[in-house]
C-alpha cells in the first residue's frame, strides 16, 4: 500500500444552524480544505461523505463546489461515519485508485429526533421492532443509558466518584473555551456539572454530548503529491476498525468496545500505547464523561480503574504528558455524527502544524510527533470502533 498524508482541512463552526441547508454548512468546510491544501479543485478524483441523515448532501456540495463528475460515495456507520469516510479516502489513495481524495463529514441534528436521524429505519421498523422482545427491551436503554450502566459498575469496582466523572466535563469545557468553533465555550465547575439536569444517573446533562449541526472536510494525498504541495504533511500510520454487538459488550461493562481495535491500530503503526507519553496527543470519542475515562484505560494509557487518577494527575491536559481532546471533544464541540470524525482529523492537522486555528490551545512541540483520532458508535444494537494514528514524520 502507498503512504498517504492529510494536506488540507476545514471545519464549519459546530452549533445550531437551523436556517442553513446541509450544503450551506458543507461547502465552506470543503472550500477551506481545498484552499488549505493549495490545490486546484479539479485535481480531486474522488469524494467520500460520512453522514447518517444527509441523503444526497454530498452531491449538492460537490455540485456547488464545481467538481461534478467525480465518484461520490456516502458512508453511514452511526457516530463513526466521518471516521469511515476518512478511512475510505485513505484506502482510495493507498490502493492507487486516486492520488487526491476528499473526505467530508456532515450532519444536521438540532431540529430532528434521534429516531428520525437514523435514516428512517427506526421509523419504518418501529411496529415490528416493538413486537420483538429483545429489541423492545434494549429500547428502554436509550443512548446515555449504556454508558451510565458502565459508569455505575466502574464506581462500584474502583471507587470512582461523581466528581471524577464531572472532572471530564470540566477539562472539556476548559479546552473548548479556547476553541471558537466549539458549541459550548463556557467553562463549568464540578458543582455546576453535578447540579445540571439528571439524564441517567450518574450522568447529568453536561456529561452527555449534545446533538449538533456541523461539517468538516479533509484532503488526502499520495506521498508523491503531498511532498510537492506541503512542507507539513500529516502522515496516516494506521487505519483500523472493529465491530461488536451489544449483548457481547455487556460481558465487560467496565470497558467499551475499543480494546481490540486499539491493539490493532497500535500494531499497524508499530507503536506501543506508552509511545504517546511526552510524544503525542489524542482526540477520543468522549460521547459521555465516563467514555473518556474508559478510553484512557482501554487504550492502554493507564491500568484498568485508574482513568480518574490519570485525569486528576493532569496527564490529559493540553500541557500534560499526553494531551487528550484539546479541542474540547464531543462534550463541548458537540457531536454532529458524521462530522465528528473529520473534525478530529482537522484538530490533529492544525495542532501538528501549529496552525493559527489552534493558537489559543496549542499543544507543546514535544507532544506533536504522534496523534490518535478515535470514534465509536452504536448502529442500533451493534457497536463499531474506528481509529487512525498520525505522525509528523513519515
Amino acid at each position: 500500500m502507498r503512504n498517504v498524508a492529510v494536506v488540507g482541512v476545514g471545519v464549519f463552526p459546530f452549533g445550531r444552524h437551523s436556517d442553513l441547508l446541509y450544503q450551506e454548512i458543507g461547502v465552506p468546510a470543503v472550500n477551506d480544505a481545498i484552499e488549505d491544501a493549495g490545490i486546484d479543485r479539479k485535481q480531486i478524483q474522488s469524494c467520500y461523505a460520512g453522514t447518517v441523515s444527509g441523503m444526497g448532501t454530498a452531491h449538492d456540495i460537490i455540485n456547488e463546489c464545481g467538481m461534478i463528475g467525480i465518484p461520490i460515495i456516502r458512508v453511514e456507520n452511526a457516530c463513526v461515519s466521518g471516521t469511515n469516510a476518512f478511512r475510505q479516502a485513505w484506502m482510495e489513495i493507498a490502493s492507487g485508485l486516486s492520488d487526491i481524495s476528499l473526505a467530508i463529514g456532515i450532519e444536521k441534528m438540532k431540529d430532528s429526533s434521534m429516531a428520525a436521524q437514523g435514516g428512517g429505519r427506526i421509523q419504518l421498523e418501529m411496529k415490528a421492532m416493538m413486537k420483538l422482545p429483545i429489541v423492545s427491551t434494549f429500547s428502554i436503554m436509550g443512548l446515555p443509558g449504556y454508558f451510565a450502566l458502565a459508569a455505575h459498575r466502574h464506581m462500584n469496582d474502583f471507587n470512582t466518584t461523581k466528581e471524577d466523572l464531572a472532572n471530564v466535563t470540566v477539562k472539556s469545557r476548559r479546552n473548548a473555551s479556547r476553541n471558537p468553533k466549539a458549541e459550548f465555550q463556557n467553562p463549568m465547575t464540578v458543582e455546576e456539572v453535578l447540579n445540571d439536569k439528571m439524564i441517567n444517573p450518574p450522568l447529568t446533562r453536561s456529561q452527555c454530548c449534545p446533538k449538533t449541526d456541523g461539517a468538516a472536510a479533509a484532503i488526502l494525498m499520495s506521498e508523491e503529491l503531498a511532498k510537492k504541495y506541503t512542507d507539513t504533511p500529516v502522515w496516516i500510520k494506521a487505519s483500523s476498525m472493529t465491530s461488536s454487538y451489544v449483548e457481547e459488550q455487556f460481558k465487560n461493562l467496565i470497558s467499551l468496545p475499543n480494546i481490540e481495535n486499539a491493539k490493532k491500530a497500535f500494531s499497524m503503526a508499530k507503536l506501543d500505547p506508552k509511545d504517546f507519553f511526552n510524544n503525542g496527543f489524542a482526540e477520543v470519542h468522549d460521547c459521555f464523561s465516563i467514555s473518556e475515562l474508559l478510553h484512557y484505560e482501554d487504550f492502554g494509557w493507564c491500568k484498568k480503574g485508574e482513568g480518574p487518577k490519570m485525569l486528576n494527575d493532569g496527564i490529559p491536559e493540553i500541557d500534560g504528558d499526553l494531551p487528550i481532546n484539546p479541542s474540547g471533544g464531543l462534550l463541548s464541540c458537540g457531536h454532529p455524527l458524521g462530522a465528528t470524525g473529520i473534525r478530529q482529523v482537522a484538530e490533529v492537522v492544525y495542532q501538528m502544524r501549529k496552525d493559527k486555528e489552534v493558537a489559543k490551545r496549542q499543544i507543546p512541540d514535544k507532544n506533536l510527533n504522534l496523534a490518535l483520532a478515535h470514534t465509536m458508535g452504536s448502529p442500533i444494537m451493534g457497536f463499531t470502533s474506528g481509529i487512525h494514528i498520525f505522525s509528523r514524520d513519515l
Binding site: A115, S139, G142
Partner: protein
C-alpha cells in the same frame, strides 16, 4: 433466522453451542465463537444478580416507557459457571432504594420485555 419465544417455563430461552459449549442469550442460529449451527435450547434463571443499573429520566428513543424507570444488567449463571449478562427493566417504585449493585433478583415473565424484581434484603 426465526423468532424464538423470550421465556420458556419462566426461564430465559438461551442457546448452548454443542461444539464449543458457549451459552448465548438470546438464542441464535450460529455460534459467534466457533460458527457452529449445532445449538441446543438452554434455559437461564429465574434467579440472577444485578451487575449494574441506572434510572432513565428521559423518554426512550422508541417505545412508550414513562420516565423515571430503573433498568439494569443482570448476571445469570449456567451450570458450568458461565456468566450470561442480560439487560432488563427493574420493577421498583421511586426512590428505587431496593435497587443495588450485586444484589439478588428474579425474572418476571412478560411477553414483550425482560423484567426483574429485586429480592428482599
Amino acid at each position: 433466522m426465526k423468532r424464538e419465544p423470550l421465556f420458556i417455563d419462566g426461564k430465559l430461552n438461551a442457546g448452548k453451542c454443542n461444539d464449543c459449549g458457549v451459552v448465548r442469550f438470546p438464542r441464535r442460529d450460529y455460534c459467534n465463537y466457533c460458527q457452529s449451527t449445532n445449538i441446543s435450547e438452554y434455559l437461564l434463571g429465574p434467579q440472577g444478580k444485578l451487575e449494574t443499573f441506572t434510572i432513565s429520566y428521559m423518554k426512550p428513543m422508541i417505545g412508550r416507557m414513562k420516565p423515571p424507570y430503573p433498568y439494569g444488567v443482570a448476571i445469570f449463571l449456567t451450570d458450568d459457571g458461565q456468566k450470561i449478562h442480560v439487560i432488563g427493566l427493574i420493577d421498583s417504585q421511586e426512590p428505587f432504594e431496593d435497587v443495588k449493585i450485586d444484589k439478588g433478583l428474579i425474572l418476571i415473565e412478560d411477553k414483550l420485555l425482560i423484567k426483574f424484581k429485586m429480592e428482599a434484603d
